[in-house]
């Protein structure tokens, strides 16, 4: 149980979390929407992510096939790319636009929604549909 509590704290309140910019009612709603069974489901998804071979094949076929020329934008929190996903995206899509959210963590759309919205809007107007 302490592990569970610790995780919820981590998810919602720490610098990593969704909730650090939310007011109390919003944070409470976010947690209610997860709930005990939702939390098990969350872990199930993560566990499946190690072994979902068919899904990864499908994604690889798409990114090297029909989707290889779509414009790509990446948005990452400054403090949360320990596994170096950004250079990997750039290698797949050399023309990618890459935005880093200052002081952002795993949920940059919560850390700085203005910057995320502006980045998507500008990229859409400038690159996806100029």
């Amino acid at each position: 149980m302490s592990v569970l509590t610790g995780l919820l704290t981590w998810v919602t309140a720490t610098s990593f979390g969704v909730g650090r910019h939310l007011d109390a009612p919003s944070r409470a709603a976010f947690l209610e929407g997860i709930g005990p069974q939702g939390l098990r489901t969350f872990h199930d998804y993560l566990r499946d992510a190690r072994s979902a071979t068919a899904v990864y094949h499908e994604v690889e076929r798409a990114l090297t096939g029909p989707l290889r020329q779509v414009p790509l934008l990446t948005i990452f929190g400054e403090r949360n790319d320990p596994l170096k996903f950004q250079p990997r995206w750039k290698a797949l899509f050399p023309e990618a636009r890459q935005v880093v959210v200052s002081k952002g963590n795993h949920f940059p759309m919560c850390d700085d929604p203005d910057l995320v919205a502006t980045s998507i809007r500008d990229w859409y107007r400038g690159v996806v549909c100029p």
Binding site: G33, D44, A62, L83, H106, I120
Partner: protein
């Protein structure tokens, strides 16, 4: 085959190269008309600079689009018809307005006057009676706008005859796209309004007051269970896919973006307000099926896919089943490849392990 072969971006040289490369970078492709013009860098430069410059004119975009479609139809150039109608879609012409413009008609009386003038100008090869110019004034157009109308018609005739003369091949399906616009200029289409009216709203739980989640949420069924879908705003489609927690994390971003985009997000099976799954039932394959179902059920087109975390693999796999509908991809702290390497697999193992699952 066109009578002059378009120059490909990688073979352009000299002054044309920068122009062609710039266009490729911005638009993602080089239309055949531009590739043909690139044989003469001076022509290409003049054409592009002129077309960019007159985007500043005061005529409303819808009127410009209707003039383009109307004159294209009169020139009979399949290439320019296709181009003008794709510009029209981009600028917000619906199918009915496009069909009317092809006949030189518009439901707006002012626009209709401009279209009649355009038709006379094209048919009479510019020898327009003074009374027709007066008719434009009577319809409320100032001299500045009359000059703009005449210029747009002349430019359209240029586009039509240029492509007729050189037999320009149609571009491989012109990318359909729709620019974001402020709500005042953007009609909510009847079909979208109808679709939204026809859906039953998921009842709002006491823990989710409208002050906290100010959007209506509906459901659709995937693998026999309900998936909660939130769909708001009009404009080009942004489809947000996260897998793990739930849509709440998109709230502040979609609040900002839904003024210009149609924003769609959903709670992956078993999460948020979607029906719960038995332990062990949540897989990326299931989340991918949900992504596919949302796209098909809402009939989303010209989609920009925004994925987060495990929404990378599940969202891209699901969306790839209708790959022709995807226009752009935005990865927010996301990956889209098999986890390899000890840190990556270790992190997933830890987060997915029994002790931490509680």
């Amino acid at each position: 085959m066109s009578f002059v072969t378009p120059i490909e971006p990688n073979t352009a040289s000299g002054a044309a190269k920068g122009l062609v490369d710039g266009l490729k970078q911005r638009v993602g492709r080089v239309p055949n008309m531009i590739g043909i013009m690139a044989h003469s860098p001076a022509v290409l430069k003049g054409y592009l600079e002129f077309t960019y410059a007159i985007q500043e004119i005061s005529l409303p975009p819808l009127l410009r689009a209707q003039l383009g479609v109307a004159v294209a139809a009169l020139t009979g150039s399949d290439y320019f018809i296709s181009l003008a109608e794709s510009f029209g879609r981009r600028d917000g012409l619906d199918a009915e307005q496009t069909a009317a413009a092809r006949r030189g008609e518009s439901s707006d009386p002012r626009y209709a006057a401009a279209l009649r003038f355009a038709a006379t100008m094209v048919r009479e090869q510019g020898r327009v009676p003074a009374t027709e110019v007066e008719a434009l004034r009577n319809a409320g157009f100032g001299d500045d706008q009359i000059v703009e109308i005449v210029t747009l018609v002349a430019l359209s005739v240029f586009r039509g005859t240029f492509n007729l003369a050189l037999g320009t091949d149609l571009d491989a399906p012109l990318r359909r796209c729709d620019p974001p616009r402020p709500p005042s200029e953007r009609p909510v289409t009847d079909t979208l309004a109808e679709l939204r009216r026809s859906r039953t709203l998921l009842s709002r739980p006491p823990w989710l007051p409208a002050t906290v989640w100010p959007f209506g949420t509906t459901t659709l069924e995937v693998d026999g269970r309900r998936v909660a879908v939130t769909d708001l705003g009009t404009g080009p489609v942004l489809l947000f896919v996260h897998t793990g927690f739930w849509s709440f994390m998109w709230r502040d971003a979609i609040s900002r973006l839904s003024t210009e985009f149609r924003c769609v997000c959903f709670d992956a099976p078993g999460t948020g307000r979607s029906d719960r799954l038995p332990t062990g039932g949540a897989t990326l394959a299931r989340a991918a099926r949900a992504t596919e179902a949302v796209i098909r059920d809402l009939d989303l087109n010209d989609i920009t896919l925004v994925v987060h975390d495990l929404g990378g693999p599940s969202g891209i796999a699901g969306a790839s089943r209708t790959a022709e509908r995807i226009r752009g991809l935005c990865a927010v702290n996301a990956f889209a490849w098999r986890p390899s390497g000890l840190p990556f697999r270790g992190m997933l193992a830890l987060m997915g392990s029994a002790p931490i699952r509680g």
